[in-house]
Structures are given as structure tokens and as C-alpha cells.
Amino acid sequence: MKTFLGIDVGAVSTDLVLLDEYNNVVSDVYLRTQGQPIKMIKKGLSIIKEENQGISLEVIGVGTTGSGRVLAGAMAGADVVKNEITAHAVAALYINPDVRTIFEIGGQDSKIIILQNGVVVDFAMNTICAAGTGSFLDHQASRLGIPIEEFGDYALRAQNSVRIAGRCTVFAESDMVHKQQMGYKEEEIIAGLCEAMVRNYLNNVGKGKKIAPPIFFQGGVAANSGIKKSFQKETGHEIIVPEYYRVMGAIGAALLAKEEMEQNPRQSAFYGLELVDKDYQTSGFECDGCPNHCEVIEIKVDGEIIARWGDRCGKWSLGYQAIR
């Protein structure tokens, strides 16, 4: 079977998707990155291998995306390394060519993408603060002792919601403590939190953007039905959470790999599924060639350097570049 592989390495999750030639999802894997992207990419690939035992898989194109896309690209031998905005847009457009708005909320960043006639016309990402992202919800869930998976259901059960300050994670937390001590129910506080997060998102990331339906909601946080409901309430439109919402970035990366291989036909640079058995090492050193003291990162396979990046001047750069 001829396939395309998409890898999305984010701060919180590492996702892999294998598409067949007709863009059907053959395998999809969602793993927590836990600060170990290399280990997780390997784990993801071995899961894919296991799931497809007995089938001969031929990977004819590989795309990577996410904040760890360069590392993933170097490690796997990617044919295309793309930013998350394009990847998410492409995946959503494949599912519904008429999509006009994409809300994407991941672990440490959130984005809004505005599309028109099948192309991205505007986008925004959260700036220097991670308020209103998945990490914030994770943190609050563990503080309340509720598994993050059940967070949304709690919100849906609430009859009323409490107003929580959503501008800043720190303030939201102190506001929550205060409301708890006033005697509000857990459900109401969680519902308030979801609303605060959505307000924060629409006022910051979504500021000045023309939000029109159909609206897609993707990324890990889309699992949270409480957030989905709040989005529906705030925008007044139906919010569509696609089936593969968690791995949309990886689907986009696989589609982009397909596009790339069709436009510029060639042999894929993929190192093959056997790479799970290889020994990958990363190391870093501080270059003292100038006062910038760049942190240079090297990635080695079985002792041989295959890529190096991180320097500003480019004297160490080898293989994959952050920007082609």
C-alpha cells in the first residue's frame, strides 16, 4: 500500500497519521510529547508498524509540522517541513472546502485561521502569553483534582456559570479560589472557566477577525465539550469538531507531503520505518565564535551527524533549515 506520513510534534502532543493514496486515514496516533519528541516519534512509528502488521507499507512522502517540525523532519527524513497554520488549514479544507474559520487550540499556543474560497486570507497566533491554551486547562484540572478528559462534562452539567477573570492564568486562578470559597459548585466554576477561556481567545487571538461559519474547532482542546459549547454561545454559530480533531496538523502535513511529491516527483527522503530501531542522539553546544553564543543543536544517528541547527550565522547549519 502506498502511503503518506504526517508528523506533528507540538509542545504537548506528538501526533502521527498515515494516509493512503486516497487520503483515507490508515493509522492515527496521539501521544503526549513529555519533552521527549524523539522517543515519541519512534513510539508513534512503532505503533503504526504494529497496527499494520502483515501489510506491506510503502511510504512515498513524509511531511512534518508543529513546533518540533525541524527536529522531526531531520529525524524522519521529511520531504516537506511546514508551519502549523498551513497544515491545519489544509487538513480542514480537505474535509470541508467551504470552511471559513478554524479555531485551533493546542497545548501551548492557540491560533485562528480565516479562509475564503479555499485559501487562507488571515491568521493570528497568541502572542507572548499562554493564557487560554491547553496547558492552562491541564493545570486547573489537576488543581481541582479532576481528570482533564472529564473537564468538559463537568462544564456541561452546570446549570449556571460563574464569571471568572480570563485575562491572565494567574488572575483566573485566584479568582477561582475566591469563587470556591464563596461556595459555588465545582461544575459552575468549571463552566465559568470555559467561558473565560473562550472570551480570552476571541478577544485576543480573534481580535478584529471576521468570524464566519462554517467554523472548525480542532487541536487537543477540542475534546473539551464545555469549550465547544462556550464557543457556540459566544459566536452564535454551530461549531464543527472534525472526527480527527486531535491529529489535524498531522493530516495536513501528510496532505502537504502528497502535494509536494505530485508537484516535484521524486524518491521520498524518508529513512523508513526501520528508523525506530536506530539510535538517535541529540546534543548541544554553545558556540563561542561571537558574542551571540548561539546554542547549536546536533542530531546524530548511530554516531553520525545528520543535521545541525540553532546558529544565527549559519556556519554550523547542516541539513534541515527552519525556513526553506
Binding site: 513546533s67 502549523e84 497554520i85 498551513t86 489544509v90 507572548i128 558574542p291
Partner: protein, 333 residues
Amino acid sequence: MQKKKIGIPYALYFYEYYPLWKEFLTRLGAEVILSQPTNKKILDLGIRSALSEVCLPVKIFYGHVLSLSEQVDYILIPRMVCIERGAFFCPKMIGLPDMVRSSLQNLPTQLTPIIDVRQSYGTWKNSLMEVGKLITDNSSEISRAFSDSWKIFQQNYLANILEPNLLFKSSIQNNIPKKPRKDIEIPVNIAVLGHNYLTNDSYVNMDLINKLKKMNVNVLTPEIVHPAIIKKQLKKLYKPIFWSLSRKVVGAAFYYFEKKVDGIIHLTSFECGEDSMVGELIHHQSQKYPDVSYTEFVFDEHSGEAGINTRIEAFLDMIRRKKRYEIGLTPSW
């Protein structure tokens, strides 16, 4: 007699006025030492010594001052107040000599001429003459040095300005290859706007301009727009801009929108008071030009390079994929 060494921090308003001071002081026989372009060491020095609430460019200014302190007899930190009717400098630049004096010790003597053209002592001429007196007693020599360097400063400034039609490299707009094999082959015009201490400081902006050029982008800046055009564009506002340095940014932005460049990137530093207004003005204007893609990049101490790279890539992808679509190259998936 040994030459007097005067240090000039390569930061903030000196991106604008360094050539004038350098010319003037050198003509009088002083040795002008410009600090190194911003690097990690300078940034660290600045962050450690400046007030925590000020914007990144001011912190960087501190770093440049400190990096000069061992090498020079004097450090030049003009108090920039007002250079034209009805417009002023950012309060942080007006208070810069005081901020530096109150938080940094053991510095060489600071020269803090006041540029405030509303006052007779604050005209460019009188202000520079004041500094000149430290170097020589010959006032006719100082006066001559001023008029010569002023003339050169003006000439060089205008020399950077391109004919508006040359801005758009052989009218790139109509120059898209019929079947570009790769997105990167589609040439685009992008204006990078912002205070020139952001647009020209490649350490702070993470080498944005070169990255864009490497990606086959024709980069346009406010500096190449003629002052007369800027002035004309600013008439579109119902009220004049209050800050001198922002006038150029807004005028250039309006001009580039009108010229329908492919994209405009506005650079701003976190906590910049001027830009909180100016950014809104430009954003507002962008909505009148849906064909021109617009985005804003915010810089601060901890802006990671990865974040900026993602935004640049996504911005260019957006523009180029839009163009592909326009010429009928839709993706096959």
C-alpha cells in the same frame, strides 16, 4: 593632544541620527566609537541593569551604553523632545538621560544635549554647537562643521529613497511564472514596517529581513519612501500623529497599502505605547485593503526564534498559496 573618544550607543534614535552626529563630531576632531550591533551579551547587560517595566529597545539601549563604558571618555545620550511642530518623541526617549543616570553607576561623562526645536537652546544647530564646545573653542569651526554635516545628513537620507516605481522590482505583480514548480518561486513584495530600531536591529528581529530575502521576497521599508509621499499619506488621518518617529511608519504603511503590495508586516515591541495606537491605525487601514495581507509581530525578551519563523512561514505560505490559486494552480488532493 589626544583625541576625545565619544561613544554612541547603536540603539533607539541613533538608528536615525547616528550619521549626523558621527559626521559632526569627526569633523571637529573627536573619535566616535559606535557600539557593536546588538548581540546576546549586550542584551543580557541591558536586561540585568534596566528597569523591568520598560520596553525591550530601551533595555537594549542600556546594554549598549554599558558595552561602551570602558572604552570612551564621553557617552552621547541626547534628550530627544521635539523636532517638528505638533509632534514629540516617546516619553522614554525624552527621559532617557535621566533613566540611564539613575540606574547606571560609574559611567563616563554623559553628554545630554536637548533637541527641542520649540526652544532656542534646543534647535539642532544650538544643541550640536553646545556639544562641539567640549571639543574645540573655535566657534566658527563648530558652526561650519554643523552646516556641512547637516547638509550631508540630508543628502544621504534622500539618497536612500528609491523612485516609487523602482520599489516593485520589475513590477513583480505581473511576473509570476505560469507554472511555478515550488511555492518559493513565486516572487512577492512585502513591506516590513516599524520603528527602525526594530526593523534594522537584526538581533532583536531575529534576522527577519534576511530571512525574507532568502525566501525570494522583495523587502520594502519605510526608509525608502520619500518624505513628501509620507506627508501626503498622513493627510488621510483626521488628526496628525503625535509622535515623530511613528509618522514615517504610518505614512509608509498607508502608501504601501495603496500600492497594493502583497503583504505588510508591522513589527512592534511588547509594551510600546506608541505602537498600541499606531498598530491599531494600521490594522484599521488594512481592513480597507483585503488584497493586502497584514500581520503584526511582537518582540520581547523571550520571543523564541521558532515562534517568529512559524509566523513568517505561515504568512508567506498564505500569500503564495493565494497567488497559486489565482493563477489556477489548485492543490490536487
